[in-house]
Symmetry: C2
């Protein structure tokens, strides 16, 4: 690109063209050759501990239920690719963090204000690495599972378009700091491919404790189901986002919820005899496994004391992925997102108390 | 997000936490209240002139060929939505340009070095607005055309996933300035959804002047066709990108190529009796119309003298969209991208001469 020159943050503005002082990066005392210190290494011990979450899942998959060999091998291929995604993410985060710091995408941990750790510049928006690796894994997996005439491919591609669109909007939000009234709209925009491709049922199952009060077990929402799906996307993304602030919490809750989703899916597959129902839950697994793996990689850097921050890119990406998993996996149990309901309810109580 | 504080470029660093001087934004002389000047208004006259390109297209659509009323009304609905996209883009570019300037995403026009215009900070990466508006128009259009069980929906969603992924990677490139060896890989990564969903023929038509030399009219590439598609995506994106530097050239060539694609499609639809062939070309039109409309909106700001720059976001987005239009529209004429071949060849000649 010959006809333009862009200031990078690591270089002082040249004398020609003469930049005004406002809003440009000046570098008066430090030498231009000084670079930001590298981030702390990943916490492998933590990853090992967290992988204990997977033991019940593996037990159910291999031992407890008699799952068809074909379905099991698809799940295992997906798991292998997700594991590869984990290592790629762990490898790429330090590289990406140098780039985001160069572009002034960093934050201070204000919970550590006044301590030496509070003055460390923590690279921001590393969720972008997770989003891109997740998408590559999820796209490549199609090669091993779906034939081109499969009906699932429509929804799978719509899911990918949704997640990708949300990651894009999240990164735009991180870079440009859009105002709150626009932030709230972003998930609705990103959920559009999902709403357009959705062709499933429009009923929800009422939670058992509420059945005596409402009088019915299954409620048909009709056209309002699409509205409900759109709002679920807004809700899921914001309920991950709203908890940001404590080191590792955004990613940590995603890891917990994704593990719970995996166990729920394998239980549903094992207990059912309906092939379509099984496929719907396998669909969820194919998206939840890469989500869990790439999130674990990010958590190994984001766990206390955080050496990277995840940014809105990650919270939007993770929330939308879970919304897509729930909607296109055709979960009819609205309590699947119970963790998210509680993460939504808790801050409201806190705000209410103050 | 309570636990972090991010420096925005428009505010000086606070005394606590004490930022080091390196790589932070200091603001010593200018008042913090001074904002960047607004960009010049859009060139509506230019838009009117360029819309003359569309006259042959409209003539062919309405008068020359007897096109089925249903197909024509789908095309017209798409055209109406594209027109709405044009106005939204024109409206959003000044808003977005304030945000990108705040985050130091701007450049200087080095062709105007030494003149007063050479010192103006021109906001960069405004292609992101075009990308987002295009995606919203293309997604919403599904509502008016596709039924959920349509085979086209698989490819349409794959196309959207591709374009969205490319826009994301382009914006990441703009913000983080990734090195060249990574830049070349990006379109291959973004083209993955397309390659996975592709289930069409694997033959290409040899251009007529070359037939006597090669001896065949149609060449079956077999599995190499997917490699060819991947390379076409790399080639299209880079042949739009490589011409950056002269005000309005990236967007200008896209407008010319998109108009040519539209005319080609309508001629193919008019001349054919095969319903599937017609649908393939209609598919191209549904993506080419929003591309043309949103690009025209950007051109009204990017035409000489540019008040915004488009960034790699736009060049990647436009290149990938045209690659997708060509591949999924099942053009078998490799010379469709003749403009792009020439834009690829010309700089090579220039580099060779120097």
């Amino acid at each position: 690109m010959g006809a333009r020159k862009r200031l990078s943050s690591s270089e002082p503005p040249s004398s020609s063209p003469p930049a005004t002082n406002e809003n440009t990066n000046t570098n008066t005392t430090a030498k231009p050759t000084i670079t930001d210190p590298p981030i702390a290494p990943p916490k492998w011990g933590l990853l090992l501990k967290l992988s204990l979450f997977l033991l019940p899942y593996l037990y159910l998959l291999f031992h407890h239920y008699p799952i068809e060999p074909e379905l099991r091998s698809s799940i295992l291929i997906n798991a292998g690719m997700s594991l590869a995604g984990l290592f790629v993410t762990v490898k790429m985060i330090p590289v990406a963090s140098r780039y985001v710091q160069k572009r002034n995408l960093f934050g201070y941990d204000i919970n550590k204000k006044g301590t030496p750790q509070g003055t460390v510049k923590v690279p921001e928006s590393l969720g972008i690495v997770v989003g891109i690796v997740f998408l590559v894994v999820a796209i490549l997996f199609q090669y091993f599972n779906f034939t081109a005439d499969s009906n699932w491919l429509v929804e799978y591609n719509a899911a990918l378009a949704c997640i990708c669109f949300m990651t894009l909007l999240g990164f735009v939000d991180d870079v440009l700091d859009v105002p709150w009234r626009v932030k709230l709209l972003l998930p609705s925009i990103a959920a559009l491919p999902l709403l357009m491709a959705y062709a499933g049922h429009t009923t929800i199952v009422i939670p058992k404790p509420l059945v005596p009060h409402i009088g019915i077990e299954v409620l048909d929402l009709g056209w309002m189901y699409k509205l409900y799906m759109g709002l679920l996307a807004v809700f899921c993304t914001n309920s991950i986002n709203i908890h940001a602030g404590i080191n590792g919490l955004e990613v940590g809750q995603t890891v917990v919820i994704a593990s719970a989703i995996l166990i729920h899916n394998i239980m549903q597959i094992g207990a059912s005899t309906d092939p379509e129902y099984k496929l719907a839950h396998a669909f969820s697994i194919y998206l939840a496994q890469p989500l869990l793996a790439t999130s674990l990689a990010l958590l190994s850097y984001n766990w206390y004391p955080s050496s990277v921050f995840v940014g809105d890119t990650y919270t939007y990406f993770a929330g939308m992925t879970m919304a897509v998993i729930g909607i296109l996996g055709h979960f009819r149990y609205i309590l699947t997102f119970i963790c998210q309901y509680s993460s939504f309810g808790y801050p409201i109580c806190v705000f209410g108390a103050n």
